[in-house]
């Protein structure tokens, strides 16, 4: 099969690889129909995630058609169209049975940080990703959700990660109705966090980024106010002023480990003195009102970061965070898509055949050509 292959920081190539096979009784093999490039794939591309091995295939947001199933699979048949959560979860362990599928303890032998994840380094199990013609899906009776016959792949593709992640981000903000919400980051996850904040009853939503076209997109797509932090002298002070000098009730951090905004933190973060750049977390802590909620859905690596925890403690903040427990949100968010409340497909700005994946990564990483979300079409 053809598959994207990582050759080192900023080096990708589409190569021929052996087809995946059924290695466990509950595996399925999918022919990939759509595979999206996620913002967190860029951390892999830039060599920031430990144990990213040469030859691995990225891709944890994909849909596909079932080509084969293991002997114990009951839920799927050859020919079924499915969307697959990025977490690989057994469905019955201590964590899965409590709904925390992102923390499954049966699928990642390499780290206690998270469950197995498709195409996201050996730190999350070393599973091959979906930016390929075929992919192996472990625990096929647990993760994949069948795509309704009347829906297209692209309408539901983002149920695999970014839509539930944005929703969980807003949900962890504990919006009860009428709250003021600031979202750091106007990437795809940030956009869905903004949409979700409205769904949960936010009174006002304000987005922060430094890329003008993305701010414009957020205004149009999510109906939010938006500010470029590079165009105000002090973003924390500016935001506090917007909310009666106190700051917003809820801040959602949807940026992650490659944040702009502090040369000092970038130098330490990208030089591996700390695991990524925690600027957006610190701004979130400093901006939110006392007693407010900070929800962190940006990706950071281990082992440490210079996070302003003293301010968080003294302000009495609630900090909530996790990888998204995708499976428990899929049915609910599918309903929102079907009923027209969320146009998930509407954030796709670029489509590429699999052969052009390296070009797609460059465009997405450099934020060129108004790129918000790239989707690969391996069958094209």
């Amino acid at each position: 099969m053809r598959a994207l292959s990582y050759l080192g920081p900023n080096k990708l190539k589409v190569v021929k690889k052996p087809d995946p096979c059924i290695e466990h009784e509950n595996d399925a093999i999918l022919k990939v129909t759509r595979a999206a490039i996620c913002g967190s794939d860029l951390h892999l591309l830039h060599g920031l995630v430990p144990d990213t091995r040469v030859g691995c295939t990225f891709g944890h947001e994909f849909t596909g058609t079932v080509e084969g199933v293991g002997p114990s699979v009951k839920n799927l048949r050859r020919g079924d169209r499915v969307v697959v959560p990025f977490n690989i979860s057994c469905g019955t362990c201590f964590y899965c049975s409590r709904g925390l599928s992102a923390n499954c303890e049966n699928t990642n032998p390499n780290s206690d940080l998270a469950s197995g994840v498709y195409g996201y380094s050996h730190t999350t199990g070393g599973y091959e990703g979906g930016q390929a013609e075929y992919v192996r899906v472990p625990f096929a009776d647990v993760g994949p959700m069948k795509i309704p016959d009347d829906m297209e792949e692209e309408e539901v593709l983002f149920l695999s990660d970014i839509l539930p992640t944005g929703y969980q981000g807003a949900e962890m903000g504990e919006i009860k109705g009428g709250e003021t919400v600031v979202v750091f980051g106007c990437g795809p996850v940030g956009l869905f966090a903004m949409k979700s904040a409205w769904l949960l009853g936010a009174g006002r939503v304000l987005a922060v980024d430094h890329v003008d076209y993305r701010l414009d997109f957020a205004r149009r797509y999510a109906g939010v106010e938006a500010v470029n932090f590079k165009k105000v002298p002090d973003i924390v002070a500016w935001l506090k002023d917007q909310f009666e000098g106190r700051g917003p009730d809820v801040v959602i951090e949807a940026v992650g480990m490659e944040a702009e905004g502090s040369k000092f933190h970038r130098m330490l973060g990208l030089g591996f003195v700390q695991a990524g750049v925690p600027v957006a977390i610190n701004w979130a802590i400093q901006t939110v009102r006392k007693g407010g909620n900070v929800s962190i859905i940006g990706v950071y690596g281990p082992p440490w970061n210079l996070v302003d925890i003293g301010t968080a403690m003294n302000k009495g903040l609630t900090l909530r965070m996790n990888q998204c427990n995708v499976r428990r949100y899929m049915t609910h968010l599918l309903k929102h898509i079907r009923e027209g409340r969320i146009d998930a497909k509407g954030i796709i700005t670029h489509r590429f055949p699999l052969e052009s994946a390296p070009k797609a990564y460059r465009m997405f990483s450099d934020k060129k050509d108004g790129c918000v979300k790239c989707v690969l079409m391996p069958a094209a």
Binding site: V54, C90, S97, N108, F139, Q168, N322
Partner: protein, 138 residues
């Protein structure tokens, strides 16, 4: 609500704002729910995959998890570094630093391997040309 806020919310359909305001509409509340299988079809019991050569697991685990990947087994110097890293608990910085170092060594190994392969092919080509030239001259 200011005019600006009002304008910002205008394009959204009425049913959108606050559609999930009731807590029972929120799939992740409470975050940790009463215990039950994640999906009705989740297997109650499952077999463990057979161990293979060149795999890694964290120091706290006695063996592999029931399901794992076999995509890129350990090899070479990077594999040695990774093996040392996985023998150290992940709460130690050494674990992560060794993994990051192994990633760079892995890239270097790959490039050197490619260079050797290209050089070998070029040498073989040169030898073939030399032999052919001599053969036709005779």
């Amino acid at each position: 609500m200011t005019d600006r806020q009002h304008q910002a919310r205008q394009h959204l359909d009425r049913p959108v704002v606050g559609a999930d305001l009731p807590k029972e509409e929120r799939p992740g509340v409470p975050m940790e729910r009463e215990t039950r299988p994640l999906t009705p079809t989740a297997p109650e019991r499952f077999e463990h995959m057979r161990r293979r050569h060149g795999l890694t697991h964290r120091a706290e685990l006695r063996s592999m998890t029931p399901v794992f990947s076999t995509a890129q087994p350990l090899h070479g110097l990077s594999g040695l570094l990774r093996r040392v890293a996985y023998s150290t608990r992940e709460t130690r910085a050494r674990h992560w630093m060794l993994l990051l170092a192994a990633d760079r060594v892995d890239v270097l190994e790959h490039r050197v391997g490619k260079l050797v392969k290209t050089a070998a092919l070029a040498s073989a080509g040169a030898v073939a040309v030399l032999v052919a030239t001599r053969f036709f001259r005779d």
